[in-house]
């Protein structure tokens, strides 16, 4: 595995890999999101209790799951950066944080917009909601740390430490609905039992989830490329690329 991974410690190789992957991820995401959102907005049945407001969940649940997934990816990158001194994993944290922050904001906002008609309030200081809000602040903290230092290496290290420490929040978010008596409902999809959702709701959910997931992948690739360029601007290959772009 190390032999297979080794070439990707070269920024140029990784940059090129991201370049080839991006259009595929973006294309798959566009197709899946079109189908998934059409299904969830028009073709899926209304819920017997929540009525049509259940349609908010086709973006709320995927974005909430992705907000945690991206954080997990960021924490793993931070671990690699701190333990094995991998420069590129440190770079990838800067690429992941803004995408993760956006999806956390979407999860919080869509949750509030569903909570207003269903719970009668936009916001409660409930364990699940509060821990998800903390996740947003962790993302913002990582972004802020990256911007706070002129020296990118120092910034990367500080952000890695924060990302790694913040990973404690992930199990808290996940189990918050079990540990505390909360207003937020329990898990529907991410549990070891069979998902408690009917198939004609599960299919549009799964399609939009993978649509959003591929969108996240393509966005991270795009941002990762930019972060690699920012950290290697003195390299000859970057200079050559810049001249090439200038000529076009």
């Amino acid at each position: 595995m190390w032999k297979w991974l080794h070439p990707y410690s070269n920024p140029q190789t990784t940059y090129n890999l991201c370049g080839t992957l991006t259009p595929w991820f973006a294309g798959i995401s566009a197709i899946l999101l079109t189908i998934g959102l059409a299904m969830s907005l028009v073709f899926s049945p209304p819920d017997y209790q929540q009525g049509e407001s259940v349609r908010i969940f086709y973006i709320h649940v995927p974005s909430a799951m992705l907000s945690m997934g991206i954080y997990l990816g960021m924490a793993i990158s931070a671990l690699c950066a701190l333990v094995w001194q991998m420069k590129l994993t440190e770079t990838s944290i800067a690429a992941m944080a803004p995408v993760g922050a956006t999806f956390t904001a979407i999860a919080l906002f869509t949750g509030a917009a569903w909570g207003k008609p269903m719970w009668g309030t936009w916001w409660v200081w409930d364990a699940r909601l509060t821990s998800e809000l903390i996740l947003l602040f962790l993302y913002l903290g990582v972004i802020a740390l990256h911007n706070a230092f002129e020296d990118k290496e120092l910034a990367g290290k500080a952000a890695s430490v924060l990302a790694l420490v913040g990973v404690i929040n992930l199990p808290i978010i996940h189990y918050s609905v079990e540990w505390w008596n909360t207003l937020h409902q329990g898990a529907t999809i991410s549990k070891f039992d069979k998902p408690s959702m009917s198939t004609d709701m599960l299919i549009p959910f799964a399609i939009s989830f993978f649509g959003f997931a591929f969108m996240v992948a393509s966005l991270i690739c795009i941002r990762f490329k930019a972060e690699i360029i920012a950290r290697n601007s003195m390299r000859p290959w970057v200079k050559a690329l810049a001249m090439e772009k200038e000529a076009n």
Binding site: S53, I56, F109, A226, A230, S233
Partner: protein, 92 residues
């Protein structure tokens, strides 16, 4: 299909405002993120090529000036000010 008319689709069984608010907010935020992500790399490349051009120009000026020193024995202070001025010009 769970709606009979477009008006019914917009109404969303009374939850229209909340459903469309959620979808609208999500769409707006994602569009901003996509534009911001795409612009970042472009801006960086523009900056780098600008820097390269400036460096090339500075090199040229330095070459010309060193030629002058050999030919005319200009004192080094004037050469330095010359160089400084060119840098300022290029920045603007």
């Amino acid at each position: 299909m769970s709606f009979n008319s477009f008006a019914e689709f917009l109404h969303m069984g009374g939850y229209g405002f909340y459903v469309w608010l959620s979808y609208g907010f999500t769409a707006a935020l994602l569009i901003i993120l996509v534009i911001n992500s795409k612009r970042k790399e472009k801006q960086l490349f523009a900056k780098i090529s600008q820097r390269l051009k400036r460096e090339a120009k500075l090199k040229q000026v330095a070459k010309q000036n060193s030629g002058k020193i050999k030919q005319e024995q200009v004192n080094p202070e004037t050469v330095n000010t010359d160089q400084f001025n060119t840098t300022q010009e290029n920045k603007g």
